[in-house]
């Protein structure tokens, strides 16, 4: 009993660390631009397909595949930013109240574009992706952990530390925090706000690309569902943690992973997503701001 509980907790944390990465990227875009990017996952998917293609064509090594997945996600993210978010910014007086919705709907349109392209244009629905490690799981006493899970966990910790360093120790990070707090005050302080948006978008897409690569390498396959899956997990984890809160995104991702792992074990695989969404509803009803909310702006 206790052993199951511990094993499920380990599995949940491992899965949750990939959710945490997805949520950190999603939250960065939401926190800085104040816009929901539904095309976040599909852009990650585009990068992962680019890596899959490179693998099939040239059989490239793991590091190169990871770099291609990240670079592809950043390029696809730039495409999304130009089309959906550059025209609907939250700076200036003239921006209408409709612009957050216009941006979100535009990003939904691009999501469909990516998904339809993957579904209709690719000859096959499912492609194999090379695993990170072909040996079996590592044993720790009575417990087991896959190497992929350890790598994902390590990557999540490293990326969160790196992001914290960027945000609190660099000049660019100062600009990002300033824009999060007040885009108007930031531009009056001489910060080029649209350029901060572009760079944050690239950074968030790169983090998403890392998450996407680790997910497809763990599952050893890729399908056109990856886009929707990544957006949903990222958004869900952000909602659990708290809108726009980066520590909340990490916490929300881990909590989501744990809930999924435990409900799958005790209630069966069919119950897994059901329980996750049910708990989200309960949480949003009781604590609408999430578990680790951003402090109020006033």
């Amino acid at each position: 009993m206790i052993a199951d509980l511990v094993q499920n907790t380990l599995d949940g944390l491992a899965q949750g660390s990939s959710y945490a990465l997805l949520a950190v990227g999603f939250t960065l875009i939401f926190g800085v631009l104040r816009r929901v990017n539904l095309s976040y996952g599909p852009a990650i998917m585009a990068g992962c397909y680019a890596a899959t293609w490179t693998h099939l064509q040239f059989g490239a090594g793991l590091i190169l595949l990871a770099l291609i997945a990240i670079g592809g996600a950043v390029l696809a993210g730039a495409y999304v930013e130009r089309l959906c978010f550059a025209p609907h910014r939250n700076t200036g007086i003239g921006t209408s109240l409709g612009s957050p919705i216009a941006a979100m709907v535009a990003s939904f349109a691009l999501w469909m574009q990516f998904e339809e392209a993957a579904t209709l244009l690719l000859p096959s629905h499912l492609y194999a992706f090379p695993p990170l490690y072909s040996g079996g799981p590592l044993g720790f006493g009575p417990f087991f952990l896959r190497v992929e899970a350890l790598v994902t966990l390590a990557a999540a910790i490293a990326i969160c530390l790196l992001l914290a360093w960027i945000l609190w120790r660099t000049r660019f990070g100062l600009a990002v925090r300033a824009v999060i707090e007040s885009p108007r005050a930031a531009e009056l302080s001489g910060i080029n706000v649209p350029w901060v948006f572009v760079r944050v978008f690239a950074l968030a897409s790169a983090i998403g690309g890392v998450a996407g690569y680790l997910v497809v390498a763990s599952h050893e396959q890729i399908t056109p569902m990856l886009g929707m899956w990544s957006t949903l997990k990222g958004m869900l984890a952000m909602m659990i943690g708290g809108l726009g809160s980066l520590p909340g995104a990490v916490l929300g991702g881990l909590v989501l992973g744990l809930i999924e792992a435990h409900s799958q074990w005790y209630l069966g695989p069919q119950a897994r997503d059901l329980i996750a969404y049910l708990l989200l509803f309960v949480l949003l009803a009781l604590r609408p701001a999430g578990l680790w909310p951003v402090r109020s702006q006033s």
Partner: protein, 241 residues
């Protein structure tokens, strides 16, 4: 007379179809305090926002030391040497006082001089020094106003725009704000001030403009019009007989 530091001519700015500025022309002389008075809705803040690049003017020109800057992005205008202390202060509430000042120096690439500038500002605003590690949102209204002015000065502006710096502050704090305005002027800063407090503004200004309904209706030196007449016009507009 030499070229004014800032020269606005025939400036038109609109919100959609509504013209808030209907051809404004005025000049700000180097080293002077120029004050803009007028009733609510006259277009004073619109003029400030147009000058700072937040609003794009529809037509007309804004020249800083002869160079056209109308329609440029806000950060580019800060780089050219204009800093705006906005209405309602707008500090970064969850950043420390020190970080607020660092953000104000964002465009500068001289970290050593930035450090000594912060020290100089701390000497001028001792309260900010005491609270340098504190989150800006926890400061009082007056302290936030000081921080907003200090942050604007961190860009080393040629021209400081101030939009209603005394708004919502207690009388003693207002006195202090105006004392700082005179001090900044003494140190060579050119100031363009929008104020509702006409009495205080006329005491420090070298020149003033009256605005009504998107147009400049009067310009002169304090004393060229009786103060009660200025105040009547600034608050009520011209009474149409």
């Amino acid at each position: 007379m030499s070229t004014p530091l800032l020269e606005v001519s025939d400036l038109v700015t609109s919100y959609g179809k509504i013209e808030a500025l209907k051809g404004v022309s005025l000049a700000i002389e180097q080293g002077k305090i120029t004050c803009l008075l007028g009733p609510n809705g006259a277009g004073k803040t619109t003029l400030m926002f147009s000058t700072a690049g937040i609003l794009k003017p529809k037509s007309g020109s804004i020249r800083l030391a002869g160079e056209e800057i109308a329609g440029r992005a806000p950060h580019a205008i800060v780089e050219k040497g204009i800093a705006l202390v906005p209405e309602n202060r707008l500090v970064f509430p969850h950043m420390s006082v020190l970080e607020n000042l660092e953000a104000g120096a964002y465009q500068r690439s001289d970290p050593d001089v930035i450090g000594s500038d912060i020290e100089k500002l701390f000497a001028r605003f001792p309260r900010l020094k005491e609270r340098s590690a504190q989150e800006a949102g926890t400061l009082s209204g007056g302290e936030q106003q000081m921080l907003s002015v200090a942050r604007a000065l961190m860009s080393r502006p040629k021209l400081l725009l101030m939009d209603e710096p005394s708004l919502g502050l207690a009388p003693l704090v207002v006195e202090e704000i105006f004392r700082i305005i005179t001090e900044l002027h003494r140190d060579g800063t050119t100031i363009f001030l929008v104020e509702q407090n006409a009495h205080m503004a006329l005491k420090v200004a070298h020149h003033f403009y009256l605005m009504e309904q998107g147009k400049v209706t009067f310009s002169g030196d304090p004393g060229s019009l009786a103060e009660d007449e200025v105040i009547r016009r600034a608050y009520l507009g011209t009474v149409k007989a």
